[in-house]
């Protein structure tokens, strides 16, 4: 690893500590301010005051807020995210159980958005202002603005219920058939952004002098596009993809709900409803780390794509 790469990694790793502290403190304070009591929520509609008091003691909710947060941070320093109030299991175990499903979905959705988005962007950039360009850009805007819930339901109705080609929902045995519809639905969110960014970036690059020179040398259009234009247009696209991957990892609760996908998004939404603070804190911390790692990967990708950044 080069010195520059080491510096990038070091900078990002150092950012983890303040990010973790800031994010968890914010979540903790918001939770403390929110109405609702995990002990009461755990009791159902009929709450016995004596039992509520006992559960509050068991959960250490009867201690001052500062002591509660301090205890949580002390456990975190030992690598322990605590125990879920609701599931009465280790938060680490709960998160690790969900992480593979979320990771699979996010990666598959990213693959969909990159393949389709770059292709759409490149096609549109070939003849700016043409009918193809307009149709592709309109489709991209449609993809960005279509509600995930609606798109998921429509895809499910057509490809699962009517045609019977794919399963309606669920994780199955981890097979690809169950992955297709959620990945396409979630991927559609970012396909439009990737397509628009690719088109814009390509158009800018193709107007550069070196592209005119290459064209004058008689290089074929596809070679020009793939070998010279795409690589140079890739930097902003990689940023969109990197941040998009993080968005897809943490922002999938709607897709997970429509397709009954057992991922981290659904876990977090349910935990907020149950006031299951240890799970909320643990999940949010993981999501914050995902963003840090995604930014790190984007920075490293710059080093690979753009030789100028290596020299800095």
């Amino acid at each position: 690893m080069s010195l520059t790469a080491l510096r990038v990694v070091g900078g990002r790793v150092a950012a983890v500590v303040p990010v973790a502290f800031g994010v968890t403190l914010l979540v903790f304070l918001l939770n403390a301010a929110a109405l609702g009591d995990p002990a009461r929520a755990a009791m159902g509609q009929r709450g016995d005051p004596e039992v509520i008091a006992r559960i509050r003691r068991d959960y250490a909710l009867d201690r001052p807020l500062v002591a509660q947060y301090g205890a949580w941070m002390a456990r975190l320093a030992r690598g322990d995210l605590g125990h879920s109030y609701h599931q009465q299991r280790a938060v680490t175990e709960i998160i690790l159980e969900r992480a593979p499903a979320t990771l699979r979905l996010a990666l598959a959705a990213t693959l969909v958005s990159v393949l389709v988005g770059v292709m759409m962007g490149a096609l549109a950039a070939r003849r700016p202002g043409s009918l193809v360009d307009h149709v592709i850009m309109a489709t991209a805007v449609l993809g960005i603005s279509t509600p995930v819930f609606w798109l998921g339901m429509m895809l499910s109705l057509v490809f699962a219920v009517t045609l019977g080609w794919l399963p309606v929902s669920g994780y199955g045995g981890g097979d690809w058939q169950h992955l297709v519809l959620p990945a396409v639905t979630l991927g559609a969110l970012h396909t439009g952004s990737v397509a628009r960014m690719t088109r814009g970036s390509l158009l800018e690059v193709t107007r550069q002098d070196y592209m005119t020179a290459a064209r004058a040398k008689g290089l074929a259009e596809p070679v020009l596009l793939i070998k010279h234009a795409l690589r140079n247009a890739a930097i902003p696209v990689v940023t969109v993809i990197g941040i998009g991957l993080a968005d897809l990892l943490v922002g999938a609760p709607l897709t997970e709900t429509v397709f009954a996908w057992p991922g981290l998004g659904r876990l977090l939404v349910a935990a907020v409803g149950q006031r299951d603070l240890p799970v909320v804190m643990g999940a949010v911390l993981v999501f914050a780390l995902v963003y840090v790692v995604a930014n790190l990967l984007v920075d490293l990708a710059y080093l690979v794509i753009d030789p100028r950044t290596r020299a800095r």
Binding site: A34, L35, G36, D37, P38, R40, A41, A42, M43, G44, Q45, R46, G47, D48, P49, E50, V51, I52, R54, I55, H86, Q87, Q88, R89, I94, E97, R98, M153, S156, L157, A160, V161, G164, P167, V168, S169, G170, Y171, T257, V258, F259, A260, P262, G263, R266, L267, A270, V272, G273, Q274, R275
Partner: protein, 531 residues
């Protein structure tokens, strides 16, 4: 001489033959094998009977565990782990004879000591009220004792339970899933993880649980009633109702609920109408007032609002007549229901007059009013209908929607003056509605969120709760119910119904009033698949 057989005798004989043949055919027709694919709206929080407080957990627990008793299709207590029982003259001592040779899924034989242990363990759990009538139970609940003094193991198959005072619905409590029997060695070995590795005596044993995805059970061949017909039961977890509906239509579920807004269309759909099953359950949806807060401390204001609400609009337009408009508090499916109960009639003129009498003519001094409800689409739409109805008498309703945890807290604390509340009976007895929801000792979180205090109501409830079932008991509850309605501490909107889709090949699924789609509490050991 040939014996003479008259036409009546011939007919009777004929009927007997037909019945025998049909009965035999029915017996033969009960096919063994297959997997029932059921569904839940959310992941069960736990599979431990001591920790569960929700219907989803109960739906699994009832298949994996047995209790001393169970309720039959008509909600009568019937034998389960207890083969027989007697009740003392003073209605305080219950003696149960247990079945011998019943085995837990781990192979060990269940004994009376397991029942005592299970009850003591569950009394320290989240539903202590199931046991708090037993002598010494409050000490265990409060952590002052580890054993319930009123539970006595006579021998391996005999158990005696002594109550503080007579309590007519006590047998119902012993059929409740909180009273399921667990093996001590498994709870000791697994600790908190017993909640995800349950071991009981039930007709199905636990196989696997992938959180937020599915719970799988399989037939327990050594169940004391004989093996169930189904090989397996898979409970999928599908939060979106439209996805459940699509899975059902795609043939991937054998039963589910009917999505909101599809109740009439499902009954008209040629492909679905044969699968639609609607039956009344033990729930009532209502709006309540905190009678301690102004302006609801004035009964005229409460009555004015009650007279301004027309529940038939909610039932006809919003819920597509798939539920019934409520007259009283107790649902018609509940034993002890009073068909003569009278609601405060929908009468806007009377409502306006009452408001004026209270010094709030045209809503002056009370409008705008905050109405609190927990977040669901149906609750939102009901709130909007209420808003439109109260506007007619000059009251502007401000809608305050909160998630469940926040709504509970607000209502428990008495901070909400006018709010939505529904109640589903834990067991089929008026005590579980009226005493829990309106007795002054239950003010706040235990159930009386109206903070309603009426000494006469308390006295009648105290009398009825200890009386044996019969006309005297029923008449007290009926009087209490009418008093509460007239006092407008609670305004019923509609009674719940289970709205289900069940594939025609699913046979033997009990449609009892305790069982509601999609979390069916019916015993799945009776279910078989005709395909």
């Amino acid at each position: 001489m040939r014996p003479r057989i008259g036409p009546l005798a011939t007919a009777v004989l004929g009927l007997l033959v037909v019945a025998l043949v049909a009965g035999g055919a029915a017996q033969e027709a009960r096919k063994s094998g297959g997997t029932l694919r059921a569904v839940f709206v959310s992941d069960p929080p736990t599979l431990d009977p001591a920790e569960a407080t929700d219907l989803t957990s109960a739906a699994v627990i009832r298949q994996v565990f047995d209790a001393l008793l169970e309720l039959d299709e008509r909600l009568r207590p019937a034998s389960a782990l207890a083969v027989s029982w007697t009740v003392s003259q003073d209605q305080r001592v219950y003696t149960f004879k247990l079945r011998s040779g019943v085995r837990f899924h781990n192979g060990r034989v269940m004994r009376a000591a397991d029942v005592k242990y299970s009850f003591e363990r569950a009394a320290r759990g989240k539903r202590p009220w199931v046991f708090d009538k037993v002598v010494g139970a409050r000490d265990v609940i409060a952590g002052r004792a580890t054993e319930i003094a009123g539970i006595h193991v006579v021998d391996d198959v005999t158990l005696e339970i002594r109550l503080d005072r007579p309590f007519a619905p006590f047998l119902y409590l012993l059929a409740y899933d909180a009273a399921s029997v667990v093996p001590r060695e498994e709870t000791d070995k697994r600790g908190a993880s017993f909640a995800s590795h349950p071991v009981g005596t039930g007709a199905f044993r636990f196989v696997s649980w992938r959180r937020d995805d599915q719970v799988v059970l399989e037939r327990f061949p050594e169940h004391f009633r004989g093996p169930a017909a189904l090989d397996r039961v898979v409970f999928r977890v599908i939060p979106a109702e439209i996805t459940r509906f699509n899975e059902y239509r795609a043939g991937q579920l054998d039963l589910t609920d009917i999505p909101t807004g599809h109740c009439q269309s499902a009954q008209r759909d040629p492909q679905l109408r044969g699968d639609v099953a609607i039956w009344p359950t033990l729930g009532t949806a209502a709006v309540r007032f905190n009678v301690e807060r102004a302006p609801f401390n004035d009964v005229r204001v409460r009555r004015a609002i009650a007279h301004a609400i027309d529940p038939s609009i909610i039932v006809d337009r919003l819920l597509e007549r798939c539920v019934t408009a409520a007259r009283g508090i107790l649902p018609p499916a509940l034993p002890g229901y009073n068909p003569e109960v009278k609601r405060l009639v929908f009468d806007r003129d009377l409502a306006r007059r009452l408001l004026a009498e209270a010094g709030h003519a045209g809503g002056k001094g009370v409008s705008p009013l905050a109405y609190h409800f927990n977040t669901t689409d149906t609750n939102q739409r009901i709130a909007e209908l209420l808003q439109a109805q109260l506007k007619e008498i000059g009251i502007a309703l401000e809608l305050r929607r909160l998630d469940w945890a926040a709504h509970l807290k607000l209502v428990d604390l008495g901070s909400a003056g006018f709010f939505r509340q529904a109640w589903i009976a834990d067991y089929p007895d008026p005590e579980n509605f009226l005493t829990v929801l309106f007795h002054s000792r239950n003010v706040g979180a235990p159930g009386n969120t109206s903070r309603y205090r009426n000494p006469r109501v308390d006295r009648l409830l105290d009398e009825a709760d200890v009386m044996a079932a019969g006309a005297g008991r029923d008449s007290r509850y009926h009087e209490v119910e009418q008093m509460i309605i007239d006092d407008a501490a609670w305004v019923s909107l509609y009674h719940y119904a289970s709205r289900a889709l069940v594939k025609p090949y699913v046979k033997g699924l009990e449609r009892s009033a305790q069982s509601s789609a999609p979390e069916f509490l019916a015993p799945l050991r009776k279910v078989w698949l005709d395909r």
